[in-house]
Structures are given as C-alpha cells and as structure tokens.
Amino acid sequence: MTGNSNEPLEDADLPAGTDELLEDVGHIPTPSGLSANKTDSPRRRFWRRMFKNPLGVFSMLWFLILLVAWVWPELLATHDPFKQDLTFTRLYEGPSSDHWLGTDERGRDFYSRVIHGAGFAFRSILIAMTIAVGVGVPLGMFSGWRGGRLDRAIMWVNDVFFSLPIILLAMAVIIILSPSLDNAMIGVGIAMSTRFTRLTRAVTLQEKEELYVDAARISGLSTPTVLARYIAPNLLSSLIVQAAIISGAIILIGATLSFLGIGASLDDPDWGVMLNRGRNIFRTEGIWQIVPPGAALILTVLAFNLLGDAIRDAIGRDASNNALTISKRVDIAPSDRPHRPGALLSVRTIDVEFPSPGKEPVQILNGVSLGVLPGKTLGIVGESGSGKSMTVLSALGLTPAPGRLTRGSVQFDERDVTSLSESEWQEIRGKDIGVIFQEPIAVLNPAIKVGKQLMEPLLLHTELSKAEARQRAVELLAEVKVPDPERRMDQYPHEFSGGMAQRVGIAMALACSPKLLIADEPTTALDVTVQGQILDLLMDLQKERGTSIILITHDLGVIAEVADRVIVMYAGQVVEGGLADDIFGRPRHPYTKALLDTMPQNHHGGEGDDLAVIPGVVPAPTDWPVGCRFAPRCQYATDRCREEMPVLEVLSDGVIVRCHHHEELSGEAYAGRGEVSL
C-alpha cells in the first residue's frame, strides 16, 4: 500500500533491460562479453531460451490445444455438450469408448463439456483483460508521466482498490448488475486494472528518468511520440509477463465464482460449474466428477504461470548464482614459481576460468602473481575488465561462481591458503584481512543499523562483550573521523553520504586490526575532494598500525599518491610491475606508457595539443589475441608480438615486464619521460 520502491515480484517485477547492462553495473566481476555473443540479438536469444526451457515448451503446447478447443471445439469434442441423456444408467457413467471421460448428472458427455469449457475460460480472460489493460495501462502511464499531486491521488485510490479482495469487487459488480460470468469479469477486470496501473506507472517513472528520454526530448520529439516510441516498447516485456500471470488468476477467480453459483449459468459447460456439480456428489458418488474439469483448470492456470516465468527468465538475467554460492572446487594445478619470501600475501600464477555452456571455458585470469610486504602498499591498476577485482577476490577464496580457480597458489602469513574450506576462511576474513569495496553504501545492509554492522566483526572475531564491542565501535568511528559517532551508530546506511559511508567501510575493515587491508576502488564512487580525504585517512591509519594495503584503482594518480609498489594489469594478465617510482619514472611496457600519456594531467598545451590515445578498445575475454594481448592496440607491435605471447621477465632493477621489445623500447623511444612537470 505504501509507495515502496521494493515492489514485490507478483505485482511489479520489472525484468531488467538487458543482461549486459546488469553485468556492467553489478560490480561482481563477470567476464563481460562472455554471454554477450555479438550476433545474438535479444529477440533471438529470447526464443532460444524459451525453447530450451521444457516448462515453457509445455505451456506453449498446452495453449495450442486450448486455442483449438476455443476456436473450433467441434474438432476436438465428440458430442454435443448440451445433449442430455436422462436414461438412469446413463448418469454419472464412468469412462467408456463412447464417453471418454464418462457422463455427468444429466448424462451429458463429460469430455465434450470439458473441451467446451476452454471457451468460457478464454472469454473470461478476454473481458477482464480488455478492461484491466485498457484502464490500467493508460492510467499508469498518465500518472507516472504526469507526477505530482495528481499522481499521488490516483495512486492512493488505486492502492485502495488494489488491497481489496478481488472476489469481493467481483461480487459488488454482480450485486449491482446481476449474477453472470460476464458481469463478474467486469469486476475482475476493474480489480486487475490496479495491477497494471501500478506496473505501468513504476516502469514509466523509471523510464522517464532514463537519459534516452531526455535525449528524445532534446531531439524535439513530442510527448506522445516519446511515450509511444520510447516508453511503450520498454514496458511491453514487463506487461506480457504480468498479463500471463494475471490471466491465470482470472481463470481461477472465474472458476471460484462459478463454483459459488454466482458466475456462469448452471447449465453451461464451464469448469467452475462442473466443479460445483461435483461438489454436491463427491461424498456419495466419488471424486471422479471433479477430476476432468479440475485437471483442465489446474493445467491451464499452471501453463499461464509457467509461461510468465519462462518469459521472465528468457528476458531477465540468470539468477542461479549468488554471493553465497561457493564456487566449485576443482583440482588446482600448483604454481611453478616459489613464493616471495617475507611477503604477507603472496599470489603465484593463478588462473581463473568461467565455464561457458557448450564451449571451452573462458579464462579470465592468466598466470597472475603478486606479493605485498608487511606495512607496505601495493597498487593494482588497469582498465575495467582487466581482472583487478577478480584477482583479489580469488586470492581470498571468494571467486564469484560459476568461476573457479584452476591453477596457482596463494600464501598468506606463511600459510598456504590456496584450498582452504569456507569455514577456515571465515576465521581469516574480517580478522586478519579486511576488505573495502567500491560502492560504500551498497555494501552496507540497508535494513541494519550501521552501528550493529560495525559491531559484527568485533563480536565474531574477538572476545569482546556486546557492550564492549559497542564501545569499541564508537571509538572506531571516531578514529575514521566520522563526526558525532554516538548518534551515527544508530542510523541506517541511507542516512550516510558516500564519503561518510566509506569511512564506515574502512572502520569495519579495520575493526579487528587486520594485517592486510584490501581496498577495491575505494574512492571511485566519491567526489574528488572526498577522495583525497579518504586516501589521507587510509595512509594515516597505515602509518599508525603498520597494516599492509592492496589498493585497486583505475586512476594512476591515486596509485602515485599511495603505492610503494605497483602492478599494471591488462586483459587478465600482469603486464608490468615494480616500485612506484620506477613505473612512473621509467615505464617499460608500451601499455603503461600509453596509459600515462593519455592522462590530461600530462598535457598542458593549448589548441593543437590533443591527448595521446590508445586506439581500439579492451578486448572481451573471448576475443583475447593469441600473441601479446595488447598487440592490436600497440604502436610497436611486430609479427612476433602477434604470434607469440610474451612471458613476464624480471629485469635487473626488480621491475617485471611482459613485452617482447621492452629492451629496445626503454632505450630510445621512451627517452624523455620522467621529466614530467606541471
């Protein structure tokens, strides 16, 4: 009844636009392009998914039969459904070769009556649906588009009707007009229109805010055009799903009313009426009389519901994995490289792959190694899709399912943690390793007070009592400079700004004084002025506590500010690594150099000073080249680069680099870098 944004599934589940979109914003790294086969249009994919879903196929077949039964019942029926045979022995006859399903209380052929019943069901749907869609969709569109007080008033009235039992509304119409199935369906139609109003309004409100609607208006398109050509198509898929499910409900309600004797006339071959007849005699004559109409009714409603589900699944995204799903254990091939001595966390040549149905699994991390020393900061930099987040998640045993670690070894604090069980990991995560994420508000549970969430790791991993944990949590908030910590403890996440929420995230990660802090794009979602303050906070805390930090970012400036060592990732591989001063002062890999050159900070010319560019785009994991993965975009690429993948070499000054030509390049072509000035 409230204007809650969390609409329930049955009423306003909005199938999301496209998979790709969701994969991109849902930050859990999914190899983009894995499922997005370029030639596979949504329409094609929709039908492919529909036909692969056995339940969807079942429902479509059932509708085919019903359709025939409705349009041309004589084709299927064997008898006239109204022809009575009052011979005594002919009443309540069991199935026979003449009467396949037997006869009813007047000796009428049961099978033929059931077949004719389909017509009543569809007629009901037709009447109720015409009213429901005819009233609900325009009203919802109008209300959502118009907004303001009128919208609120319309929705209030709508919600009142929405919350009344449909049967009751149908009864009211029957009372006012007169008992008949058609009249009842008028009432049902009005009741169901409230569902469509809600759904349409929700979609319209959402689409109205979409930038493409602004874009259309900027192009000078008129409001009706925008509604018809832009909003309506996006509404259609949700409407179809909703209509399928509501059709099932309409049949159910029609049957109930007929069963009560206030729907279809008592002679009609309507399923509800037949059930009503069956009710009078099942205690004496047995259950048979309710089986055929009951089965027809159930199958039809089921088919509608399954159809709705199938359409939803075929449009929407695959929900079969969640953050709880622990990725499948497979044999992990050991790494051939020794761990870095003295490192707090050392990752050696890990591979991560995602199974792709019917094809070779797609590798999205390939031989990634890294190490961080106690008290030091390692920066990982790369563009989106390069595998930064996946690397650290996999090192923590959090590889998102269905992805899995297939090679390599991870050592934390002198202990091999490559194949720890989930419960062993629970001892380490939060206690020895803290994690900070990119979207500071989204990682806080919206239903739980911030203070409680902050106390959680303390209660889990330390011996503190509840009161002590609360005390400690307040101290932590003060430590991360959240003003007024006592009051803030009892607030909910949505009352925090992004910057303040990120401070809470830091406090939470540091609550148990972990040895290692992993920060995945901790400032990307924040304003630049707030970003600086968050970085300051991290650095200060590191100085005080001696925590090691792994900081992931796509911003080389942030790396320059905080990192001691840096690794640069491209397309699932480490392409360069070393001390920050070396990487910024003398980049050896063409990609690192190109990245630095594209930054406007390194350009301060006037008119003619165009930015350096890296041509092309980061390829999707399915399209990674066989040779050097950067070759298609590299200005120094040779035939060798295109055929043979370079290996990671360790240079004399400790820098590692994956390029065939780094020696020649770092000589002349790179000369001049290092004298960056403002």
């Binding site: 602004d214 198509p233 930054m599 785009v617």
Partner: protein
C-alpha cells in the same frame, strides 16, 4: 563586441519537495542559484563541481527539461528562457546534447540508423530512406565509426562506441551549441582520451560551441576556453581556464585543484600537503542552505563574515568573477589569486 551565442543570467532552479498525499511539502531543493555566464560561438565553456553541485541542472534548464525559478536565458539575443511550443522545434535544432551515461542515453530497442535518423527526420524533414541513411553514414564517418554500425543496436557496442553515437546524434541537425554533460566520465581512461580528442576535432571542423560539463577539473580545463566552478548551486568562480587553473581566486577552486591526483609520486606528495589544509566536513544540504557562504564549513580561511553573509560577486584578476569575501574583507585580495594566502595561512596554522 558581438553578441554571445548563449547568455545565462541569474539562473535559479528550485525543485519542489515531494511530501505524502496528506501532508505539507518539505522545503524546496535549491539546486541552482544566481548563475550567470556566456558562451561565444565556436568556443567551449566548461562547468566543474562536485556531485550535486547543480551542473546537470544548469544543462537541463538550458535544454528546457526543468522549470526555471528565476533568471533568463538568451540564445543569439533571443529570449529562450521559456520556449513557446511553436518555437520549440527551432530551438531544439540549435541546441543539442550528449549525455552522461552511454548505456541509458540510447534506447535499446532502436538501431543506430533510427537513433541518429529520428532527429534528422524531425528537423531537416528527410524521411527514412536512402538519403537519410547516407547522412547517417556520413555522421558515422565523422565520429570515426564504420558503416557496419548503421544496423547495430546499442547493446552491440562498447561504451566508447555508444558515446560516439550520441555525439553523432547531437551533430545530426547541425546545431550551434552542444551541451556535453559528463560525456566522458563513464568511460575507461584509454577511451576517454579518444572521445575528448574527437570533440575537439569536431569543434575545429564544424564550428560548434560546447558547454562541457564534468566533475574532473583536469579534463574540463583541457577541453575548455573558459571554465565555471560550481559549489552547491552557486557559480563560485569563472574565468579563462588556464588562469583559473594556475591562479584560482576562490578557495574551493584551489581545493579542487589540490585534490586531483597527479600521476607522478613527487608532484603528488606536494598536492597532498596542500589538500590537507581543507577541513573534513559534509557540505550543507541544498534544501537547507546556510545564510552565509556555502563553503564556509570546509574553508581553511573562513572568517566571521563568511558565516553571516553570502559573498557578492567580484571582478577577478583573470577577467572573470569570484564569489568570496576574501576579495573585499580580511586580506582584501581584490580579485587576486588566493593561492599564496591559503598557503601562508595554512603554514601559520601548523605553526611553521
């Protein structure tokens, strides 16, 4: 002096609060207050500021997408503050936009040809067909995309490619002014530079003016001839971009500059020291602005008067304007750069 292409005077946009059906409305959100600037034809004016500072709202006001509370907007001397329905078509042809999000600013259900073709049909009266298709193909050439993109849907393109389509759509009707709101912000670093270069090239070839909006001062000053810095709905500084960058006349501008991470450890360490002189505090809510300077609670050199009185606009040394009391009270900088003053004050505070 010729007339500016666009002139915005004392623009204010307020959003009415939205209460429940039977309760009074909360106070309005003052998203834009007293903003004035001009754009000459074939020039670029950049607008920076943090999230929620009102940049997009200024753009949306110019584009007639939100109601204006106060002030006026002129295009080539014609008052277009509230464009009449009859005149809307002409206005729409002259002012176009490239919007922030390359995913949602294109409708997923149409192909490139329709997306770029629709405005062509609307404004240039060229019906769908070979001629329109050819025009769209030419535009694709202009933005550096192959003709195979004509029949592609947005979901078949990368973020950078979608943004190029948006640019092509904006240019399709040969506008005089293109408003680019965060046109490059959602893109990867390597793609961002491609799009920035493209915009600059287009300006050279097509003689359009840009209003370029972004939250990254570095990108904005690279793109623009003049910049305006917004804070909580106010334009706190405005001037030629190189001068504003080098010699800012408002403490907030200085804070922005100091906050941009620089990809070189030595230089970055310097910026960091400067940045730390600014106070950690939450900006006030635009629904509840303080009577004085909105930046007061974060400003390292705030004075008593700042808490009480809204600073007036003063002439700045670079020819632009600044909205800060420092120029008329306290050190009375008289429109000069605030950099030295803030640094010496900061040193004073630390006791060096």
């Amino acid at each position: 002096m010729t007339q500016p292409l666009l002139s915005v005077e004392h623009l204010a946009v307020h959003f009415a609060g939205r209460g429940r059906l039977f309760s009074p409305d909360p106070p309005p959100v003052k998203a834009v207050n007293d903003v004035s600037f001009t754009i000459d034809s074939q020039r670029t004016f950049g607008l920076v500021g943090e999230s929620g500072s009102g940049k997009s709202t200024v753009a949306r006001a110019i584009l007639q997408l939100v109601d204006i509370h106060d002030g006026s907007i002129h295009l080539d001397g014609d008052d277009v503050t509230r464009v009449a329905r009859s005149a809307e078509l002409g206005f729409r042809k002259r002012v176009q936009a490239v919007l922030q999000d390359p995913f949602s600013s294109l409708n997923q259900v149409h192909t490139t040809e329709t997306i770029i073709g629709d405005p062509i049909t609307r404004h240039l009266a060229i019906k769908a067909g070979d001629e329109r298709r050819e025009r769209v193909a030419d535009l694709l050439d202009l933005v550096g995309l192959g003709h195979e993109f004509l029949d592609r849907y947005p979901y078949e393109m990368s973020g950078g490619q979608r943004q190029r389509i948006s640019i092509a759509r904006a240019l399709a009707v040969e506008p005089d002014l293109v408003i680019a709101d965060e046109a490059t912000s959602a893109l990867d670093v390597s793609i961002q530079s491609q799009v920035i270069n493209l915009l600059r090239e287009i300006q050279r070839e097509r003689d359009v003016a840009f209003l370029f909006i972004a939250h990254d001062l570095e990108v904005v000053s690279h793109m623009s001839h003049d910049v305006g810095v917004m804070y909580l709905g106010y334009l706190v500084e405005r001037g030629p971009s190189d001068d504003v960058y080098a010699q800012p006349t408002h403490p907030y501008t200085e804070m922005l500059i100091a906050s941009i991470p620089f990809p070189e450890p030595g230089e970055q360490a310097k910026r960091r020291g400067l940045r730390q002189t600014f106070k950690v505090a939450e900006p006030p809510s635009p629904a509840n602005l303080p009577p004085g300077c909105p930046f007061e609670n974060r400003c390292p050199v705030a004075m008593d008067i700042c808490r009480e009185e809204m600073p007036a606009v003063t002439q700045a040394h670079h020819g632009g304007e600044a909205r800060c009391h420092l120029h008329t009270s306290g050190p009375e900088l008289g429109g000069g750069s605030v950099v030295e003053f803030i640094r010496s004050e900061a040193r004073g505070n630390v006791g060096v």
